[in-house]
Symmetry: C2
Subunit: 382 residues, 2 copies
């Protein structure tokens, strides 16, 4: 299968490219290095510097004999993406080309505008390019579990059957984002729901929870094939930040009470979910929505798991509760469903002490690289 991966330089984009290349697909990755620019402008280094895409694909070819094509450019520019669709003729497109940080989207006006414009125009452009070149192309879009927020009822997979005053209909599950970033993902869903219906496009929208981890099988060929691992308040996900705090002897900073619950998954399961989604395209006109996480934890649960793992390594980890920089419910019901990926064959890699020890030991090897100041939250929702 010919697969176009937009945002192929990212934390998930590059590991996805290698995984799908290993699986025998032909891959073209696209990126505009936007995340690198933001991180560079704000001095938010990753744990280890990673080579750029052009260098990575050379290493990949040397190690595996497999070719991954690269194009550097901005998916917000329609001519660029339309030309790519014409030239490459993909069977599927995986759309990761979005500004992925909630705190970044709340930092100020320019960051909000960039997040809104980038995330919606890339999705608009993908929809139009598919319609214009080949409506059969399967669009796989990365959404987020955060689109649902934390409602007081069970979270279903994408849709909800509602009975009201004795009549029934099926709707997109009502959404409520916790940041502007999350709101743009809701708006992406609105856009794809509309275009898939009116133009008969095949769309899979993945409601993914926060991802943790840094190892995938394909990285074992060579250290320079590693994905970028962020631990800063902007791009670092919560478990990854806790592991770094434990490694450098800082307390694990829990936002508020830490009783907020989310659905998490290991990066290796993300890749497996993407591969499963590719093997199961929806019918034309259908938007398939899958909840992509494996386990629910509270933030405090995660902190205690990391502490246990750190203590086993004699790190003497502390946990502190700091004022929550976000506006979010801390005590809430949370019961999200995730059955479709299991039915389609996902075998989850759960979070256990082995996974945590491996992460912690890896970070310990590079702990001198860590800039401690960038882990603490500076971006407030107000």
């Amino acid at each position: 299968m010919k697969v176009l991966i937009l945002g192929g330089d990212g934390y998930l984009g590059w590991p996805t490219a290698m995984k799908l290349s290993s699986d025998g697909h032909n891959i073209l990755v696209v990126d505009n290095y936007s995340r690198r620019k933001i991180a560079s402008d704000r001095n938010l280094p990753t744990l280890i510097s990673v080579p750029n895409l052009q260098q990575r694909v050379v290493t990949w070819k040397a190690k595996t004999g497999r070719e991954i094509l690269v194009r550097i450019g901005d998916v917000q520019e329609y001519e660029f993406i339309l030309d790519l669709f014409h030239e490459y003729g993909p069977d599927a497109v995986i759309h990761f080309a979005e500004q992925p940080s909630a705190p970044y989207s709340m930092a100020g006006y320019l960051e909000a505008r960039y997040t809104l414009t980038n995330n919606l125009l890339t999705t608009l452009n993908v929809s139009h390019a598919v319609k214009q070149t080949n409506p059969e192309v399967h669009i796989v879009k990365l959404g987020t579990m955060g689109e649902y927020g934390t409602p007081n009822i069970d979270i279903e997979e994408g849709y909800l059957d509602i009975e009201h005053n004795g009549r029934k209909d099926r709707f997109l599950y009502p959404r409520k984002g916790g940041s502007l970033y999350h709101t743009t993902k809701i708006q992406d869903t609105d856009l794809l729901y509309f275009y898939s219906g009116v133009w008969g496009l095949r769309v899979t929208d993945l409601m993914q929870g926060p991802v943790y981890g840094m190892f995938t099988k394909e990285m074992e060929y060579q250290p320079s094939l590693a994905t970028n691992f962020s631990y800063d308040e902007i791009f670092g996900t919560v478990l990854n930040r806790f592991v770094v705090q434990a490694a450098i002897g800082r307390p694990l900073a829990v936002y508020g009470s830490g009783t907020q619950k989310r659905g998490f998954l290991n990066i290796v399961d993300t890749l497996e979910c993407i591969a499963i989604a590719l093997r199961n395209p929806p019918r034309p006109g259908e938007m398939s929505i899958l909840n992509q996480f494996t386990e629910v934890f509270s933030i405090l649960d995660l902190a205690h798991l990391v502490k246990q793992s750190g203590d086993d390594l004699k790190l003497n980890v502390e946990i502190v509760n700091i004022p929550n920089p976000r506006v979010e419910k801390e005590d809430h019901y949370y019961n999200p469903r995730t059955t479709r990926f299991r039915e389609l064959g996902l075998e989850p890699h759960l979070l256990d002490q082995e996974v945590l020890s491996e992460m912690l030991e890896h970070v310990l090897r590079y702990k001198d690289n860590v800039v401690p100041e960038i882990v603490s939250p500076k971006t407030s929702w107000n």
Copy 2:
């Protein structure tokens, strides 16, 4: 009250400005003449040419002694709108500054991009400018009944209480747009719902049905105070187009079976609704959503009403069903609630033969101005 009206040159914007000025408010209208440019580029003249805003406010002052301030500029530009908020210090802002045409938004890529970018950035900018200058400012935003689509259950006002698996919560009523334009209005709602909640803004979101009519009390001072009256497939609403078709002796072109139902209202009721909304600002952090229409008709109902009115004037009106250029349900349940505006004092002006005769007689006086070709639909949803 100091009221900023964005999109003050439009079909509804200008009559709203005069009405609120008459009511004793201080008014500043803003427009970038975007609708005039689109209409001019595509040769879509209005029934009567209307003077520009600068000329209209001179006439208004001469006739009433009241001043309406004008600023020409683009609400997509944040510096422009932020400066306006700083300088003028409004108590309320009425946001009409959106690309309002469903067919335009479906005409092609550039039209879709413009609609998406304009409608979302203007709403983003208003939210940020209010937050940055005075979070107490009441934001009154024009949405559309089309955000709800045509669900198989009753349409409530903005929100829906959902019981699911024995638990309950209140959500934004699930929405499903029938065009990209409608989808951008849903996305506006998402954006305002988020920012009102997180920043404690006061937002009123008006779910308005298609408006008809061309007369408001304030226009009686002088003919050149008229609003623009469009009858083309892009900017003309359905009843206005039927009246023009009847006047020029063309058949009333009903899209598909014409059994599509919508909630309609007279332009005078639109103005009254805006005035009521201004008098009833929500609490900080609350997004008040009101359904703004007075009567439900099918498209075929409207055609028959216009035919009756035309026949009374010996016009011998025909009705034809033409292939529906839109992708929409034609046979559907439709039961939208509209109780809040009545509770707040709205006394509807219903559609009767007197209203239709007055419209028809007015159009007949200017029927030589009509360009018949622009009434027929050319924009298909596919």
